[in-house]
Symmetry: C3
Subunit: 267 residues, 3 copies
């Protein structure tokens, strides 16, 4: 009854995000039943931390000014022990971007990292062959091994979007088989997934579960959106319709995933 | 024949607004028959004041840099005696935000304040219990009394959006009964209302009338949009369709409102 | 087979653009089969130049900070001899805007200028009677003459959008008769045309041809979008659908244009 809970509690999910998909992220957040605050002003991070239930950071159009707000925000949310989702967009593309992303990743408060495989490879110390926001990396055994080590060491959940979605915890991996190729035909799909991670983490304590629900919700809404779309414009409209209509039964009836548990990853 | 006039005169409505709903605000402005300039660069405020017919300010993603442009813009529009609409987004949420909002509100040039009840409570000196951009305040007698005192003192019109919309002048109150709950399911609805206030103020001298037409137009377009929508995505598309098709007959035939006049509010 | 080529090669088109239509530009770029990076951070321009196939600059919401990134980007792309498209939005409206636009125009690397007639008049030294982002200038013989002189002198292609589109090279002019008036009812149409110029320039060496294909593609997609739209909201959705479905046969079957060649413009 997680989606029902979101719609009842209407948690405020605070974003510091890019100006490309910010509108989609706000609308996706609201469509799921949460409320959205997109506030990047340094001076008010402490106050937003107090009234919000989760923080979502996305470095898509990062610069030093916004990075400073993010650093401040992470500290404030950490003090209050509230969930933080981090989306290190295009990590691996430039030194400046990597510098900012790793400065943020070095802070303790981040609970969930949402990224595509290229970006996540960079996070866990592999070469992700990043090209802008696109994924060019194929997930392999080495990647999964390293990801679990990272998850264990940092107590973070890694939510990896792609043809197949992976959620990686310190001793388990979930694979999500739902989804639509149409999500690669619009900008902001990954950003919206990070928003949904924030929405679910706002009402579920377990970050692995929250990430799994978030990626399942987005993937299932994408499938529904694809059914009647005529191109990338109507896919995007349908996607928002589907998110706003999604309920717990949709997840129960349509979810295709597996969880591999009790893995011992670490040598 | 106000909408007809907008579509004939095609006034330029200049915005300094947030980066979340800026695209919606521009599209809503154009859909109503006006033209939109979204220009926040400090150095060109004087020149935009000369070619524009109204200014719309929205502090959604405010920071000091943009605040400076707003302060400059208000001064330029005041000199030319052109209408200024102000949307103090999330007023009450943080000290920094309140500081900027009140610095702007202390300037004389602002003619119309568009806000939800939480934000407007803050404007007129009540505790609005602000939580991000959401309204959590119930309009009561004390509020209406204070609002009219404020309207009289400042010569401003207060346009308050919510389940019921209120337009408050110094000795009268309009209540708008049109509208759709779907407008709360998308981001930017309030911002678009402020844009429409600017559009109507660009062609109507009377700011009370302009605000009333603006909120009626948005509310009626929302009703039309709701009729065939399948969720929040298609609601947003339908809303823009409805705004672009709206004419004076729609307002005449569908408007549900009352104006309570000759009120003497002030002790 | 140009569109097929785009969809096969999936070139990365890097934008530094305004925050109003940035989402539309990214989605239009992706809909055509390219990939979009919207990256304005000064520190990473060199690295984006290396991985991208074209650069699109748009000064819609310019300020000095973003201008610096653009100046840096142009230098980096020039070094690599990669195509640069420039959209001098609202040129002529303010001194500060003109200052930045001409500082950029004075750099050698720009290959294609996409503008409406008002803006382009300013570029080539006529008074464009600019009013915000709107076109108020009628193309005449003097304009065409001056434009060709400019094209010859600077080795640039001028892509001019309007009721009729013009593509102007140093000794030839193309006129595009396709298009829909609905494109003037949404924000960002011109910006998306610039994006498409970048997309086509990423796979076609000849900048005149690239610009012609880009404006034809947008104009034909607009026609298709208009056929079933119910207003400006659904037009925008249909436009993105049409762009995402567009193929080389659509261009072949629907294109209405003429090229006037072997012109000797210059005294």
């Amino acid at each position: 009854m997680t989606i029902k809970k979101i719609r009842q509690e209407n948690p405020l999910v605070h974003h510091i995000t890019n100006y490309v998909s910010v509108n989609d992220c706000a609308n996706a957040t609201i469509a799921m039943g949460a409320s959205a605050a997109m506030a990047d002003f340094y001076e008010e991070q402490a106050e937003f931390a107090k009234i919000s239930s989760a923080l979502v950071l996305n470095t898509g159009t990062i610069n030093q000014l916004i990075a400073n707000s993010m650093l401040k925000a992470v500290k404030e949310y950490m003090l209050l022990n509230k969930p933080i989702v981090f989306d290190p967009v295009a990590l691996g593309v430039s030194k400046a971007r990597d510098g900012i992303n790793f400065e943020l990743l070095n802070l303790k408060g981040i609970n969930i990292i949402k990224a595509n495989a290229s970006e996540m490879a960079g996070v866990i110390g592999l070469d992700g062959k990043a090209r802008g926001v696109d994924n060019t990396f194929k997930i392999n055994e080495e990647f999964l091994e390293k990801a679990m080590v990272y998850a264990k060491k940092t107590k973070r959940v890694l939510a990896i979007t792609g043809e197949l979605d992976y959620i990686i915890g310190e001793d388990k991996i979930a694979k999500v088989y739902n989804g639509s190729f149409m999500a690669t035909k619009i900008t902001g799909a990954g950003c919206m997934c990070a928003s949904l991670c924030g929405v679910f983490a706002a009402v579920i304590e377990d970050k692995f579960q929250a990430s799994l629900y978030a990626l399942l919700s987005f993937a299932i809404a994408s499938e529904i959106a694809q059914e009647t779309c005529k191109g990338s414009g109507s896919f995007r409209v349908n996607l928002m319709d589907a998110l706003s209509n999604l309920d717990d039964d949709d997840i129960k009836n349509r979810a295709k995933y597996e969880i591999i548990e009790n893995l011992s990853c670490c040598k």
